[in-house]
Symmetry: C2
Subunit: 468 residues, 2 copies
């Protein structure tokens, strides 16, 4: 972590200095490599926080990563593995002997260890697990048995749980004794003390700041907050994130089917989830996979083209509509000139509505209770914007081709298409959500299909009726 103060966001050069690792650091490591000065390279790498070293490794080329790992190997902080992007991590683990990877995994908190191991391909995973000692192996295999993106994967198994008859003094003495024994049973950082019954079911929580301002003789069961949320292990991480955001939690207990405390989720894990889930929605709305920046060309190409081919369904159906009106276009070629405007305005307006709907669904602000009201509002907005755009484009088109009829026809078509866009912009995500399909993935393909076909049909149809 850098000791220099942060500077406000400004020009690019400044912004790049804000973080622990800068372009200059990367260049310095490169220069040391080129000069064959392994000592200097190590000096830079070892001076960095693990999160920054991970950034530096991501900034290097695969060949440079190979040089770095060949030279430093096991001297690289194991925490680095937890901070790397998934694709880079897989590459880097391929550069390390399995025994070194196993040793690194043992050093990590359980939540980080699970994340690292889970991201590996099955054979590599098996090999790493085989290199662990029995105890660590069981813990990891248990955690890997939970579904991806569940609280069970997110939680760490190290936490502080004490009986309810203990006092503040008992608890502090226990922590000090454990720390003196080496502190291996304690998590690296913790924020709350969990009070449990004899069956290990959580009864309440005491935040550390509350514990610290209370006199030694006070019993925890007088002090604890009993109004707590117990998160079942299979809860989806998105639900966990909502809970943390809603109640500003620092940590929360995770329980098994019998209600026993089995782990703890902390705010830093949730911060990553909030970031990840929003990122996922942004990317899915555009038909892109996350992690895209670091994937090989072939993978990126393959993951993106399926969405493009899907979008062809909509495009060809729009083409069919135009094909149906070929005769009309042959007589008034101005229609071909103007028709993309009608379709695209509908598409753009629909994407505005759809984006609001997709995010409202994700953060649970759109649901059965207010769907009708929101569709009503979107229809009104579409009507108002439709009127304004119809007037604007109708006037321009009427003047351009010196035909008031054409102006009226394009204006009417825009109005119709914007109303359709407003309605389906809410209905498509809502329907996909009800069907259990992620609305971010497929909404825009369906939407564009509707706005293209409605746009072309309304415009060319009206032209065929009124202008011929």
């Amino acid at each position: 972590m850098s000791d220099t103060p942060l500077r406000p966001e400004g020009e690019q050069a400044q912004a790049e200095e804000l973080y622990g690792v800068t372009r200059r650091d990367i260049d310095a490591v490169r220069a040391a490599m080129d000069a064959g000065d392994i000592g200097r390279m190590e000096g830079i790498a070892l001076g960095l926080h693990a999160a920054d070293l991970a950034d530096l490794i991501e900034g290097l080329s695969p060949a440079e990563r190979r040089i770095l790992f060949a030279a430093m190997g096991p001297r690289i902080d194991p925490q680095v593995l937890a901070f790397l992007e998934e694709t880079v991590r897989e590459e880097v683990i391929g550069l390390m002997p399995p025994a070194d990877v196993a040793a690194a995994v043992t050093e990590l908190d359980t939540d980080d260890a699970v994340e690292v191991v889970a991201s590996l391909d099955a054979p590599v995973q098996e090999e790493i697990l085989g290199n662990l000692d029995a105890g660590d192996r069981v813990v990891l295999e248990e955690a890997l048995a939970w579904p991806e993106d569940s609280a069970g994967r997110l939680m760490q198994r190290e936490f502080v749980a004490v009986p309810s008859h203990w006092t503040v003094g008992d608890t502090i003495d226990f922590l000090r004794d454990e720390a003196e024994k080496g502190g291996e049973s304690l998590p690296t950082e913790f924020f709350d003390i969990f009070v449990v019954d004899p069956a290990h079911r959580p009864l309440g929580m005491v935040s550390l700041s509350r514990l610290l301002r209370t006199r030694r003789p006070v019993r925890l069961d007088e002090l604890m907050d009993t109004d707590i949320d117990r998160i079942p292990v299979i809860t989806d991480q998105e639900e966990v994130a909502h809970l943390f955001r809603q109640y500003d939690l620092a940590s929360a207990p995770v329980v098994d089917d019998a209600g026993r405390l089995v782990g703890v989720v902390t705010h830093d894990d949730v911060m990553d989830v909030v970031h990840e889930e929003a990122e996922e929605d942004i990317m899915r709305l555009a038909g892109v996979q996350e992690d895209d920046l670091y994937q090989a060309v072939l993978n990126t190409s393959r993951s993106r083209i399926s969405w493009l081919i899907l979008s062809l369904i909509g495009l060809f159906s729009a083409s069919l509509v135009i094909w149906f009106f070929q005769g009309t276009i042959e007589q008034i070629v101005a229609l071909a000139v103007l028709m993309p405007i009608v379709a695209a305005l509908g598409g753009n307006a629909g994407i505005q509505t759809m984006t609001v709907a997709v995010r409202a669904l994700a953060v649970k602000e759109l649901h059965g209770a207010n769907a009708v009201r929101i569709i009503g509002k979107e229809t009104l907005v579409a009507a108002m914007n439709g009127l304004a755009l119809a007037a604007l484009v109708g006037t321009v088109a009427g003047l351009w081709f010196w035909s008031p009829g054409l102006g009226l026809v394009i204006g009417g078509a825009i109005m119709v298409n914007l109303l359709a866009a407003g309605a389906v912009g809410v209905l498509i995500p809502l329907t996909l959500h009800r069907l259990g399909v992620d609305p971010a993935v497929a909404s825009s393909v369906f939407l564009i299909t509707v706005t293209d076909t409605v746009g072309f049909a309304a415009f060319l149809g009206a032209a065929a009726l009124f202008l011929l």
Copy 2:
């Protein structure tokens, strides 16, 4: 906060029960209002966590909100104001007498109080500030003087700072004494103790979990972490969020120009920022304002239409291209049928690239150092997907209109447009970022202008050359 365990994500009905406030609660409040049973309505409202009551209020209509506030007024938990969406908050504050608002603001931690007051219109703000006592007023006015979205706005002024010669025992005794005096100088929750020099400049931090596992005689200057980031008050909140995510911080010190500790940012504030900033990017990419769901129809309509009108620039320039090739279309009307496919495929592929670039810029993974490599990668991906789509669409078009020439021309045009889309998909966001413009706001308008005009020009131009 509900005491029942969370259930995993499943069907809609289940999902709505996960939170403190459910559709049933809202219906129950409505039923109580209709029955004129104010007591029952209050019973439900007062049983909720402030964050849940805020959700309930957001779920009511403006008329119902008026009834609720008329009945309960000052008995509503002041914290609710901090949890409300901005537009609903403004409405609700309009329902309360200024003295009640001032009393509520006084109850909040400084960061929440600033957020509430800052979101009000200037005259309302003045009125509320005038109703505060002098001390609170000065604190708020100082905070309001910092730029929006700065660390100064995000931080709270309540924190625990102690001299470096203190021991663990001194610190714990101090916290207990302060708590017994009423604890008004202490923050409600805190996660770290800040060690300061006599000029109040931070020397280091001690996390509470570290303090708790250390014996009483140990001095803080032996215990503290001195490798800390001091955040200047004017730092942008996005930078602060990066810092927390990068180093998994629970809290961090904010310093003034002289390096003195003036406030502390905590993880829950940052969680909201991470959420907000990602949300902002999603919305801006689609030309939508945040908060859109709760805004009045007129405001939503006005904020969205400017983006639609902007997009007309691109659409009309594409129309000009088609207009230029009118003669060609009159001779081969199949061109009008197929041309939207060429333009839209380029647009869709470009949006994929652009989305990756915009997010990579936001999270600082795209910068001068790797721009060339990423443009190279995107060009390769575009070339591969271009080839595949060209073959697919070329074959379909060639068979449809029984013309191998047309198939070749559309295939070539798709190839050209995808290459253009890949290049400008990175270059546009990068250029806007360099110019200091938020790439999320304007990128897509420019991108679609390029892919539409290139698409139409390549397709119609090639047709004019080779098919006539």
